[in-house]
């Protein structure tokens, strides 16, 4: 009797567990839709880029990439990313810290401003800089007098890229920092840590994943930005063409394979950063599971019988 009851209870439990899940057909329909969508709209186009790039063979591909103008575009793109991403990491951290940890007047305004680059069309963003720094712009005369070039030059491209990619790091960090509160930082302070130590050992590691993700998004956009950069660059071949601009130019000049070759390299850079992130995440989860495997110990704290700690 008792055994029967137990088994029945067990079955009931299993049933109720199944009851909370969706029916099998719904599960597989959803999975299929998601998979198909990714396949058709994400995976196939990407594969096609590589297929087109290699359609005329390896030597054409190699030649397209090593062409001096393409090579200069690649170098410029990497330079722009190398400057704008670190800048935005610093700005993003500062803005996220201010918003998450302090109460101040104008906080709502700051949050809105951070979102501005998302809501403004990149072309408008580019024009903003032209209006400011162009020859006819506010500072144009002064800059010209001092022989400084921003528009139609590398500084303009960097400025536009920094503007466009500004929200990525801050937006990733704000919710994480808000959720974490400032308890951990205060705990560090009570243990004697100064502001810098607290930031380095406590704040930064606790937002590490958000920061890495923000950097990846920021980097992908910095290398891939077209609109704003197109307005400020002036399209000077071999000087102010970034990879996206170079790709467009090649494509418009009917150099399909060359355009796709540069495009494939740009896509590859994005894939590498994504792969890097996956590896880091995998390493972290491995570390967690290894820690989990350590044997559990008895609950009751053994204090009292064998004397305390000296010197406290």
């Amino acid at each position: 009797m008792a055994g029967n009851t137990k088994r029945n209870l067990g079955e009931g439990h299993a049933k109720s567990k199944r009851g909370t899940e969706e029916p099998l057909w719904a599960k597989w329909t959803l999975i299929t839709i998601a998979m198909l969508f990714c396949l058709v709209f994400l995976f196939l186009p990407l594969v096609n880029v590589f297929a087109q790039a290699f359609s005329k063979g390896w030597s054409v591909y190699w030649h397209a990439l090593t062409h001096p103008d393409s090579w200069s575009a690649i170098k410029l793109t990497l330079l722009v990313a190398a400057i704008s991403v670190p800048l935005n990491v610093v700005f993003g951290l500062a803005a996220a810290w201010a918003i998450a940890k302090f109460e101040f007047r104008g906080k709502a305004l700051l949050i809105t401003l951070i979102d501005l680059p998302f809501s403004v069309s990149p072309v408008v963003a580019g024009l903003m800089f032209v209006v400011l720094f162009g020859l006819q712009g506010f500072f144009g005369g002064w800059l010209n007098d001092h022989n400084l070039r921003i528009i139609f030059a590398v500084p303009g491209i960097i400025l536009a890229t920094v503007f466009i990619t500004f929200p990525f790091v801050a937006r990733e960090l704000i919710p994480i920092m808000q959720a974490a509160g400032s308890d951990q930082e205060q705990a560090a302070l009570t243990m004697g840590a100064n502001g810098w130590q607290t930031f380095w050992h406590v704040t930064l590691p606790s937002v590490k994943w958000g920061l890495i993700y923000g950097i990846i998004l920021c980097n992908a956009r910095a290398m891939g930005e077209f609109g704003a950069v197109s307005v400020v660059s002036g399209h000077i071949t071999g000087q102010t063409d970034t990879m996206p601009l170079r790709i467009e130019k090649l494509y418009n000049e009917y150099q399909g394979p060359a355009a796709f070759a540069v495009a494939s390299l740009l896509a590859l850079l994005a894939l590498v950063t994504l792969g890097l992130k996956t590896v880091l995440e995998w390493k972290q989860s491995l570390e967690f599971s290894r820690a989990q495997q350590t044997p559990p110990v008895k609950r009751a704290p053994p204090i009292g019988a064998d004397g305390g700690i000296a010197g406290m």
């Binding site: 951990q184 705990a187 302070l189 840590a193 110990v297 609950r299 009751a300 704290p301 700690i309």
Partner: protein, 367 residues
């Protein structure tokens, strides 16, 4: 480490969180800051730590004014209500953090952390991350971390708030043992009067930013300074009476009120232990019916109903209960051995305080 607070006031904008509070903590004491939430007790703790700066008044540690001494230099251990463990660090990393900051030698650090892990029953968990620990384990890591750099003062904010009842009991007893072992001056904040009574040497009671009373658990229980304390600490019968012919009356109950003017209203309070019960229907002045018996381990709590419908609470041991042959529905006689006047006014009495809601059976009743 001895601490002295002199006329401390803390304002957050327009709100006065702590109002002109003065008290001191002696070297080696285990002190509770007790009060309902919003009472200002956590703010006081944070000011002692240096996490908040008083708006007015001075804080002295070992006789030295520390108002301007930053939190890093006060040599304190602080345990946060949320524990605030470093999520990205292992148990070892958490406990070693303060030592790393203080630049301990690697071998010393290792030894110290291992010693604490052993003492706190955490051996074997040093490689785990906080999210892989139970609530009680996290709590102990938080205390171990605070104690690691050998602070001369341990501050705990609602240390047992976030763990379940059984663990809470274990941790309380353990804190008392820990304190007697380490003899480090300890101050903890709690809203649970039972916890404060059981754990501390002395209790400071706060209400709405004011210090209501300071004293040993027995003192605040037996000689509450005011109505708030009387009702917040332990269970109390509270009756509003009116003086007629030198006697304070409510329903059939009478309390001597010598020297009180006719018509004065007195709020009278007495502990359950002051209500004596007899099965001899001629022994005590008031008749009553035993309505309910609540079993709380070896002590029983009794609810008695007078003919007028007035309810009195009493308590006795199982043995006394058996000797008197009591059971629910039984008729008995009662007397009230002693009482306190909690408030008196010519006309209206102040409205009942919130604390009266805390009327669950408590350990205080057993004293």
């Amino acid at each position: 480490m001895s601490i002295e607070l002199k006329s401390i006031t803390k304002k957050f904008g327009e709100v006065t969180a702590v109002n002109n509070v003065t008290f001191s903590v002696n070297e080696g004491e285990l002190m509770a800051l007790l009060g309902p939430s919003g009472g200002g007790k956590t703010t006081v703790l944070r000011m002692i730590a240096g996490l908040e700066v008083p708006t007015q008044g001075d804080i002295f540690i070992n006789g030295q004014r520390v108002n301007d001494v930053p939190v890093q230099k006060r040599n304190i251990g602080f345990v946060f209500q949320s524990y605030a463990l470093f999520r990205n660090m292992t148990v070892f990393g958490n406990i070693a953090f303060g030592l790393k900051i203080k630049k301990w030698k690697k071998a010393d650090m290792q030894a110290r952390v291992m010693e604490l892990l052993e003492l706190f029953g955490l051996s074997g968990l040093e490689k785990r991350y906080p999210h892989q620990l139970s609530g009680g384990q996290r709590q102990r890591v938080a205390i171990a971390r605070a104690l690691a750099p050998k602070p001369s003062l341990l501050l705990l904010d609602e240390p047992f708030g976030a763990v379940d009842a059984k663990i809470r009991q274990e941790l309380r007893e353990w804190l008392v043992t820990l304190h007697s072992e380490l003899n480090v001056t300890t101050i903890f904040v709690t809203h649970d009067q039972e916890e404060a009574m059981e754990v501390s040497n002395r209790i400071v009671i706060f209400s709405r930013g004011n210090l209501e009373q300071i004293g040993a658990p027995r003192e605040v229980y037996e000689q509450p300074a005011n109505e708030f304390v009387a009702r917040f600490i332990g269970v109390m019968n509270v009756l509003d009476t009116e003086v007629q012919g030198g006697v304070a009356r409510v329903s059939e109950l009478q309390f001597p009120a010598d020297g009180q003017a006719e018509g004065t209203r007195l709020r009278i309070g007495f502990r359950p232990y002051a209500v004596q019960i007899s099965n001899d229907l001629n022994l005590y002045p008031y008749r009553a019916v035993l309505r309910h018996t609540f079993f709380l381990g070896i002590m029983l709590r009794l609810e008695l109903e007078l003919p007028s419908g007035l309810i009195l609470r009493s308590r006795m041991t199982k043995e006394e209960y058996a000797q008197l042959g009591l059971e629910d529905g039984r008729e008995v006689t009662v007397r009230i051995r002693n009482f306190r006047v909690l408030a008196s006014e010519g006309s209206a009495l102040p409205p009942e305080l919130e604390a009266s809601a805390h009327r669950r059976p408590t350990i205080a009743e057993h004293i």
